[in-house]
């Protein structure tokens, strides 16, 4: 190998250094600069105009939602937010072309907009209130257009704003930071107030037992007979907790998960005998912490199930492996006891990265549920097919049956049947329905 020419070596060294630097001042995901990178520009704009408005946005996603959907989905949300903000720049938009959009720091989910606070010269906090309000409205409208996934649910965010003024007695950066703190505080106050309100709503749902129970059939893919139903619970329709993920994430964060799950479980057990044919299975979603709940882990659970006229061997607890490592041992012990008692065990969300094969073998589950993403377009993806084939093979070796979740189209179903996947679930086979509605079958 010939030695690199010194000029070339210099180029690559410089490039490496530059890219490292760039990674610290530009957020690669949103492609927005950080506050540090726009500081000079902001100062100049403020000095030019005498004042400048700053708007602070905090994505109000429930903390548990990132954990539930994965960081990729959250990154996508941040990208959509950034694009939506940039799309509002324009001669007639709420943002002028010279206004500055940034993130507070790399990988942050807090956004900053520096904008003219009012007409040149005449600036006051009143006009800033109005401008910020208009910006929020337009932003809320724009975000859904930039979401890549099918989920077009509104994206909640919190906003705070302030005006920074040029003051010859103050160092410019200081007055910027003061305004930033003010805007941040405003958004935080809004967040706290909203949290309180939502918490009240959650307590009301638990106190008044307002959860809605839905059933979705799980079918034997060979015969298309109903094996059983998975039970879903969510908040009342039209309310903020119609989104089940939000409901459970908030309950988890605020220590109300066990109460909420107990309510959902009771509802499911009480309604089951009226709606399920005898001998079919009832799949109950159960979080890992709820396994330690004495109403599940104790003998009382068997009694509770039998009191409803159900055979407890027809109850399958559907569990995700999302458990802290130090709690794994205790968790597996509880699973083993439930199995010994005769309950079925299903591992949910296989393929989402939480489940390790070793853990699986130890628990000896009866069912493995595969993630929607593994099934999507399986008729067209060779890699997904061979991956699923391997998993089906493996499952039968450890004595578990595979349930393919999220079947939405005929070709997906055909492929899965052809491959010998024993069980399936999804909108195509029957969407979740409110209890009381009629039984569903393949259309």
């Amino acid at each position: 190998m010939k030695p690199p020419n010194p000029q070339e070596a210099d180029f690559f060294r410089l490039r490496a250094e530059w890219l490292r630097f760039k990674n610290h001042v530009f957020d690669a995901n949103t492609e927005l600069p950080t506050l540090a990178a726009v500081m000079d520009d902001v100062r100049r704009l403020m000095e030019e105009r005498g004042s400048l408005g700053v708007v602070y946005f905090d994505l109000a996603a429930e903390p548990g939602v990132e954990a539930a959907r994965g960081w990729q989905a959250y990154d996508e949300l941040l990208r959509a937010f950034a694009r939506a903000l940039l799309s509002l720049k324009g001669e007639r938009g709420p943002l002028s072309p010279r206004d500055i959009v940034a993130v507070t720091s790399v990988r942050s989910d807090k956004f900053l907009v520096f904008m003219r606070a009012g007409d040149p010269g005449g600036v006051d906090s009143g006009s800033m209130d109005a401008r910020a309000r208009r910006l929020c409205e337009k932003l809320a409208e724009a975000i859904p257009r930039f979401l890549e996934s099918a989920r077009k649910a509104p994206v909640p965010f919190h906003e705070g704003h302030a005006v920074m003024f040029r003051d010859p007695m103050l160092r410019a950066e200081r007055s910027m930071h003061r305004a930033l703190d003010e805007a941040m505080f405003m958004s935080l106050t809004q967040r706290t107030r909203e949290d309180d309100r939502r918490l009240q709503g959650l307590d009301e749902i638990i106190g008044e037992e307002e959860v809605v129970t839905l059933y979705q059939p799980i079918l034997d893919l060979r015969t298309l007979d109903v094996l059983g139903h998975e039970v879903f619970s969510r908040g009342p329709a039209g309310g903020p907790f119609e989104d089940a993920e939000r409901l459970f994430a908030l309950a988890e964060r605020t220590g109300r998960l066990l109460d909420l799950e107990r309510l959902c479980r009771n509802r499911a057990l009480v309604s089951a005998p009226r709606h399920l044919r005898p001998g079919t299975k009832l799949f109950l979603n159960t979080s890992a912490p709820a396994l330690a709940d004495p109403t599940v882990s104790g003998d009382a659970f068997v009694r509770q199930v039998e009191e409803q006229g159900l055979d407890h061997r027809d109850v399958v607890l559907e569990i995700t492996e999302r458990v802290a490592i130090e709690e794994r041992e205790a968790y597996r012990g509880m699973l083993r006891k439930l199995k010994a008692d005769g309950f079925g065990i299903a591992i949910d969300d296989m393929g989402s990265g939480y489940s390790s094969l070793k853990a699986l073998v130890e628990v000896e589950p009866d069912y493995l549920k595969f993630d929607i993403s593994l099934v999507r377009d399986i008729d067209r993806s060779l890699i997904k097919r061979s991956l699923l084939e391997t998993l089906v093979d493996l499952s039968s070796k450890i004595g578990a049956k595979v349930i393919a979740e999220g079947i939405e189209m005929e070709p997906e179903l055909a492929t899965l049947r052809e491959m010998g996947v024993p069980l399936g679930q999804g909108r195509y086979l029957g969407p979740p329905v409110l209890v009381g509605a009629s039984e569903t079958a393949v259309s």
Binding site: F11, L14, R15, W18, L19, K22, V25, F26, P33, A37, V38, D40, D41, R44, P97
Partner: protein, 133 residues
């Protein structure tokens, strides 16, 4: 499509003057008053041309040019250097480092606008030639 020009100069008067004039002529204009800001702006704005002052405190035009050239996202943006120094050495250095033109201060407005037009013409010509090949 409207062309966007990034003007980099540490003297606010020159910056404002150029911003006004170029906007008047129908260009989109972004400005930066120092080397660091110039690099940031080049990333965000992705201008079609950068007018870059050489003599700036902290980070001079040569350094900015070098850093623009090592990043794939800015490597292809044409850069014209602005300078009060008229030595031939500077000219040569500018062209070696990948600047597309060299404009001496003080410049007449007509000259500057004509140069900008020429540069955009060249860039388009280059693109066309590349396509035809």
């Amino acid at each position: 499509m409207r062309k966007k020009i990034l003007v980099v100069d540490d003297e606010d008067d020159i910056l404002h003057f150029l911003e006004l004039v170029l906007r008047e002529k129908g260009y989109d204009v972004a400005t930066a008053s120092g080397g660091h800001e110039a690099l940031t702006k080049a990333q965000i704005e992705q201008p079609h041309l950068i007018l870059l002052d050489i003599m700036m405190p902290q980070m001079d035009g040569w350094e900015v040019l070098k850093l623009l050239r090592v990043d794939d996202e800015t490597a292809d943006i044409p850069v014209a250097m602005l300078s009060a120094r008229t030595e031939a050495k500077d000219r040569v250095q500018g062209l070696q480092e990948g600047a597309i033109d060299y404009i001496c201060k003080p410049f007449s407005l007509q000259d500057l606008l004509a140069k900008i037009e020429t540069i955009f013409g060249q860039v388009e010509g280059r693109g066309k030639a590349a396509r035809e090949r």
